[in-house]
């Protein structure tokens, strides 16, 4: 029993350490900082860009520009012209953002390919043409009382989860079709 507790405690310690590491990384390590000094040409010295990983209070020409290209008496004049900027970024955020964005985009593209190419093909193979025609029919339902029916049936809960998802998807597709009609065919909105 005691052994079990020990390992447990050990585990907790590792997890805390990991968390600490992660936090530290998030706060200090991954969030890269730099001090960038741009020094224009001076006399016979070429213009140069210096970058150093220093904190904000050290971000000036004297700390960052090394080796100093000019002699001692000219340092002040040279440094007057350099412009030092302290910048920070968080490369972790950028990485996560880009990867997240690309994965969402990829999923959407896959779903789009499925919806436009694969599904009609599968449906045709499985059900023949009848299903397609039927689904076209119930879009054109414009009875005034059908609408009320819709509104009221929304409040009733459906027992089956899968059924619900199917129903929601059908409704969404109908809505998109309606939107497509009004935007691209009838040009009543957003033209």
């Amino acid at each position: 029993n005691s052994y079990f507790f020990e390992t447990n405690a050990n585990n907790t310690a590792t997890i805390t350490n990991l968390l600490k590491c992660f936090l530290l990384c998030w706060l200090y390590l991954c969030k890269d900082i730099r001090c960038k000094c741009i020094c224009p040409p001076y006399r016979d010295v070429e213009g140069q860009i210096y970058k150093q990983n220093v904190s904000l209070k050290d971000c000036n020409c004297l700390h960052v520009v090394e080796p100093m290209p000019v002699d001692g008496k000219d340092v002040e004049a040279y440094c007057l012209r350099c412009e030092c900027k302290y910048e920070e970024r968080s490369s972790g955020t950028i990485k996560v953002t880009i990867i997240m964005y690309l994965s969402i985009l990829g999923l959407l593209l896959l779903y789009m390919v499925y919806l436009t190419l694969l599904e009609p093909m599968l449906k045709r193979r499985l059900f023949g043409h009848s299903q397609l025609i039927q689904s076209d029919d119930d879009i054109g339902d414009q009875q005034p009382f059908a609408n009320a029916h819709n509104v009221l049936s929304r409040s009733h809960s459906r027992p089956n989860m899968l059924n619900k998802v199917e129903h929601a998807q059908q409704r969404w597709r109908r809505q998109v079709q309606e939107q497509r009609k009004s935007v691209f065919d009838r040009h009543v909105v957003l033209s």
């Binding site: 741009i38 213009g47 955020t93 029916h149």
Partner: protein
């Protein structure tokens, strides 16, 4: 008298549910007198019946609230019908009714507050939900803006090359730590590889140029294609800028799904693609749409907002402020934008919430730090150089340019969009996007100013030439001999780099002007702010450099003599670019205060407010001289949204009688009687007509008004009664009164519909001037208004009728103008040439003849507007 015949025929032919609409005064007076004498007793009855509900003027308590104890003493058995009080797609909301519903709900919560601790907590939650929802909205829109910024930057650089060490870095981030960069080639670093380097293995030479050119076009086309496909398949509402639609929605229109989850997701994803594809568009306008989607989605978490359309619009106002706040990094500018441009109903409470939402959003974006410069926008600049009074002249000239550009752009873009809307050309949205993207990419690549991201271009143009600038714009001749001190450099003679930059900028200006006209309105998310600002900034920079050179070569002119001594820095070209950008944006959108504040927040310099104000005001004046509406109003008009502009004035002398429906030639008004209809008759009325609401009268003899019932509510109530209540048959009696009418013993159970009856519809008399009616509609946000004469219902005026009336009055004074000319807001004088008021008959006849011509011309517009008619 023809109208009299119509009256009689109509009266005889029509059944119980119709009364005649009469048009001549004599008839009305006669009829009214008789009815008045005859039906006094019945009216008294009506008043008695109402005594129970006198406590509140409004007895509409369905949907959100449920019956309150004070108004429905006798209705304790009645529960609210689900769905009553909601709206159909493409309908106009009734602000008055929604506000009453909210007050009712508030009263209920307040009265229950003392009952228990739980109720008290609930009331606290309710009170705080407004702040909570705007906080969540601010958080979400800030985070999404950060995502869009980062992803768009990366994708934009993907057209040029890729970072080998870390694929997810854009060009600048890739070279972040690289120490190999030199002053001359500060943009190059070994980690960043252009496509030619990767594919051909060489960075220089014509072969690599062609390779880069090809890859640029390839990426631009594939981004544009992906964007338009995603929009078309998943969310067609995600296209365009969204601001005209949001304006319309905020004024009280329902477009279902416009602010939904899918629209949000697709707009966010495709916005990045569209910006990265190099099309001449910006992400600022769509960000407002994205923020509004967030506001709408989060308002579903709070019943106070999800069930009340008017309250929801308060959240949307705050959300649009948050959107501009993150788009420009200008929180106060965002609040003012919401107030000046998009919002329709903006109470002080909303102002504070907008302020808070803008603050939260800006804070979140700032902590994400998407550009790595600790700023919210890429083109943030800081100036400290002063400006001189003679410079006001070029600033005003820039304002004139901005106004001209705005007027030209609005006309050209509307003409193009009208073509897209009305001809077969609009049937190929994907092809159109591909075509425009291809032309843009092919033309843009050779010119360095059009090749780069528009935000970066604006940044370069805004930034003043210091000693550290490497851009071609700053290659002044004095910089070549390095020994001279740079920081206190006077105006310098331009070097060859500046001259070639001038040429390129001129070409870029022409290119941007042409492409923006064809780009705005494509079926991808496309904003207008950035291209407009770019055009203004290019023009401003050109003027600025011209002024600078003028001051350098002619420093003995009396203007320059005083301020620009030799060796003194007096002209700042970057400032001119900024003023030009503000002027062009002002010309297109016709914003003033919010625009100046936005630009001022972009630069952080208070001293440039006067030049900005001068330029923006001038551009508004010049633009207004050519047409009074901004691009958003023009698009609203083009699409025929029912938007009643609060800024316009109504100066005609027409009366409510001239505008109300039915017209004398139409079939009589469809009405319901309060207690002698059956369910079957009611259903047939609903099925046979397409009106969205029916006045309820005492009886067909009396024709006195009782209230107003909406079509949607009636259908829902009947359907509901069929499901829940036993014994409702087709021949059941329907009654709107407090007590059931006395019925024969064998008749089925009657159906009480009092709860869906609006007992306090707005009424005006038939002689009310339209000025007052229009004012009532604007200020109260009415959906419809009944027209009475001596207490008898004559007709109805809806928002759509008013809009049609405005359009007719506007058009029949300028019948010879070309079609786009109609979009000007010019009012005809209401008086004839001899100073006498025009006769009313004349008005009506002209209107009618015009109407016939219009019907076929734009059926689409009428179709959409029909949604909001009654």
């Amino acid at each position: 008298m023809e109208s009299e015949q119509l009256y009689h025929r109509g009266y005889c032919r029509n059944s119980y549910n119709s009364i005649a609409s009469a048009s001549s005064d004599e008839e009305l007076l006669d009829g009214a007198g008789i009815v008045m004498d005859f039906h006094t007793t019945e009216d008294d009855n009506l008043l008695d019946g109402d005594a129970a509900s006198r406590g509140s003027n409004y007895t509409m308590s369905n949907g959100g609230g449920g019956p309150s104890s004070s108004t429905h003493l006798l209705d304790f058995l009645e529960e609210p019908i689900p769905g009553v009080g909601t709206y159909d797609d493409f309908h106009t909301i009734d602000w008055v009714r929604e506000k009453c519903k909210d007050r009712e709900r508030h009263r209920k919560i307040n009265s229950k507050k003392k009952e228990s601790a739980w109720e008290f907590t609930k009331s606290l939650y309710d009170a705080w939900s407004g702040w909570l929802v705007v906080t969540l909205t601010g958080l979400a829109s800030g985070a999404l803006a950060g995502l869009i910024d980062i992803a768009a930057d990366w994708m934009n650089d993907l057209k040029e090359g890729v970072c080998l060490s870390a694929m997810w870095f854009n060009h600048e981030q890739c070279c972040w730590t690289s120490n190999e960069t030199t002053f001359a080639e500060r943009d190059k670093c070994p980690q960043w590889k252009s496509w030619a380097e990767l594919i051909l293995g060489q960075a220089e030479g014509p072969g690599s140029y062609i390779m880069n050119y090809f890859m640029y076009i390839y990426w631009a086309l594939s981004f544009a294609f992906l964007a338009v496909c995603l929009v078309k398949v998943f969310a067609p509402y995600a296209c365009g800028s969204g601001i005209p639609e949001i304006k319309t929605i905020l004024s009280g229109f329902i477009i279902r799904g416009y602010l939904g989850k899918w629209t949000l997701m697709i707009k966010t994803i495709t916005l990045v693609l569209a910006v990265a594809s190099g099309l001449s568009l910006g992400k600022e306008g769509p960000l407002v749409h994205v923020a509004c989607c967030c506001g709408n989605i989060f308002s579903y978490l709070f019943p106070k907002y999800s069930k009340n359309e008017a309250k929801k619009r308060e959240v949307l106002s705050a959300a649009s402020a948050a959107g501009v706040s993150v788009a420009f990094g200008a929180p106060i500018g965002g609040v003012l934008f919401s107030l000046e441009e998009v919002s329709y109903y903006f109470p002080l409470k909303t102002l504070w919430r907008s302020f808070f939402a803008a603050l939260v959003a800006a804070f979140v974006l700032r902590s994400i730090n998407p550009f790595g410069n600790s700023r919210l926008v890429l083109f943030y600049v800081e100036y400290h150089t002063p400006w001189y009074i003679f410079e006001l002249l070029p600033f005003i000239l820039l304002g004139v340019f901005g106004g001209l550009w705005g007027a030209f752009f609005i006309r050209a873009n509307i003409a193009w969009c009208r073509r897209r809307k009305s001809t077969r050309f609009g049937k190929y949205p994907v092809l159109e996007v591909i075509l425009v993207a291809a032309i843009t990419a092919v033309v843009a690549f050779p010119n360095p100013y059009t090749r780069q991201n528009t935000s970066e271009l604006i940044k370069e143009l805004f930034t003043d030439c210091g000693p550290l600038e490497s851009s071609q714009l700053c290659q002044y001749r004095s910089q070549m001999n390095g020994s001279k001190a740079f920081t206190d450099n006077p105006n310098r003679p331009a070097g060859p780099g500046v001259y070639s930059a001038m040429w390129q900028l001129c070409l870029a200006l022409i290119f941007k002007i042409i492409m923006t006209i064809f780009t705005f309105g494509l079926k991808v998310p496309s904003g207008l702010f950035i291209p407009s600002m770019a055009i203004g900034a290019i023009a401003g920079r050109i003027v600025g450099i011209a002024m600078e050179q003028l001051a350098y070569y002619h420093h003995d002119w009396f203007l320059f003599k005083e301020w620009c001594e030799v060796g003194a820095d007096c002209i700042t070209p970057g400032l001119y670019a900024m003023v030009g950008a503000a002027a062009c944006l002002g010309g297109v959108t016709r914003m003033t205060v919010s625009l100046v504040v936005i630009v001022f927040e972009l630069t952080g310099g208070l001293e440039y407010i006067v030049p900005l104000m001068a330029a923006v005001m001038t551009s508004k004046w010049v633009g207004d001289a050519f047409g009074r509406e901004g691009i958003y109003e023009a698009h609203i008009r083009l699409n025929g949204y029912p938007f009643l502009d609060a800024k316009e004035e109504f100066t005609h002398t027409t009366l409510a009688r001239d505008v109300m429906r039915p017209r004398s030639s139409d079939p009589p008004l469809a009405v319901l009687t309060q207690d002698d209809l059956t369910v079957e008759e009611l259903q047939s009325v609903i099925n046979e007509t397409s009106y969205n609401g029916f006045p309820v009268i005492v009886s067909k003899e009396s024709q006195r008004l009782v209230g107003f019932a909406l079509r949607r509510d009636i259908t829902i109530a009947i359907e509901n009664a069929r499901r829940k209540q036993e014994g409702i048959l087709l021949n059941s009696r329907v009654y709107f009164t407090q007590h059931a009418p006395t019925l024969p013993a064998d008749s089925p159970r009657p159906l009480k519909l009092r709860s869906i009856l609006d007992m306090s519809p707005f009424t005006v008399t038939d002689h009310t001037p339209m000025e007052i009616v229009v004012d009532i509609f604007r200020k109260l946000g009415l959906r419809q208004c009944l027209v009475t004469h001596n207490g008898i219902v004559l007709g109805i005026i809806t928002k759509k009728n008013i809009l049609e009336h405005l359009e007719e009055l506007k058009q029949h004074t300028e019948p010879l103008a070309p079609s786009w000319y109609y979009h000007k807001k010019r009012y005809p004088s209401s008086h004839g040439s001899n100073g006498e008021p025009r006769s009313r008959v004349h008005h009506v006849q002209l209107i009618r003849s015009f109407q016939d011509g219009r019907r076929e011309e734009d059926e689409e517009e009428v179709c959409l507007l029909n949604g909001s008619n009654l």
